[in-house]
Amino acid sequence: MLLAAGAAGLLAAMAMVIVRAIIGPSHYDRILAVNSFGTKTVLLLSLVGFLFGRPAFLDIAIVYALINFVTTIALMKFFRYRSLAQPLGLSAGEEARDG
């Protein structure tokens, strides 16, 4: 029952974040909201597994956490460099790798 309540709460939180994503006002707000939404999704996915008695689907949650990250980096590069190909800035010292 507690888990169900938890799921309901998460849904409510997601709804609020969606409102932020829709009203913006800036794109950064939207991305922030999506990011936060992603974390909540990960939590909800974990929770739903327990709720339905099949907790084995945590893989999806893991994948979400990872993919969300990639997307956010891509968005950052979108704003920062207007390019997906550009490397994130390198300092001179880093060219020498210790490997």
């Binding site: 339905f52 008695g53 099949r54 084995a56 689907f57």
Partner: protein
């Protein structure tokens, strides 16, 4: 359970489909159109998956018969129901539509990629991704001779 609730999924799917198509129709922007198309395609998936859901079913990944997990799952349901619709004491949802929709999602992303690639080339060739402007430019093109090999 009321009729509305049991068919809510289909209504939602219908609305989503139309929303996708509406995005497609209403916008002259090629990228936006692709987004609309993607929504439209995804809604198909929702439709299939809704068909596949079974009361009290669980994902179609077999639970070891007789394991605690299986017992736990069965305990949530009416034994008669499990006996009638279950397989080895567990009720599963229908796996077939899932398989189909996996394929459909893949097709969707393939379409999206190719469509966007074409849209990018349109932008490079015409300097615009607005359908109206492209139309105008195309009509100019029609009056010019082709390139010679």
């Amino acid at each position: 359970m009321s009729f509305f609730l049991s068919h809510f999924n289909y209504i939602a799917v219908a609305i989503l489909m139309m929303a996708g198509l509406f995005v497609l129709f209403s916008s002259g922007n090629l990228i936006k159109r692709m987004i609309g198309l993607a929504i439209f395609q995804t809604s198909t998936g929702l439709f299939y998956i809704s068909l596949a859901k079974v009361f009290g079913g669980t994902a179609a990944i077999a639970v070891e018969p007789g394991s605690s997990e299986a017992r736990e799952l069965a305990s949530r349901l009416d034994p008669a129901y499990v006996a009638q619709y279950g397989v080895d004491g567990v009720v599963y949802s229908n796996p077939l539509p899932h398989v189909l929709i996996l394929t459909a999602i893949v097709v969707g992303v393939a379409t999206l990629a190719v469509g966007l690639a074409i849209a990018v080339r349109v932008r490079e060739a015409f300097g615009s991704v607005e359908a109206d402007e492209i139309d105008v430019l195309s009509r100019v093109e029609a009056t010019q001779p082709g390139p010679q090999a």
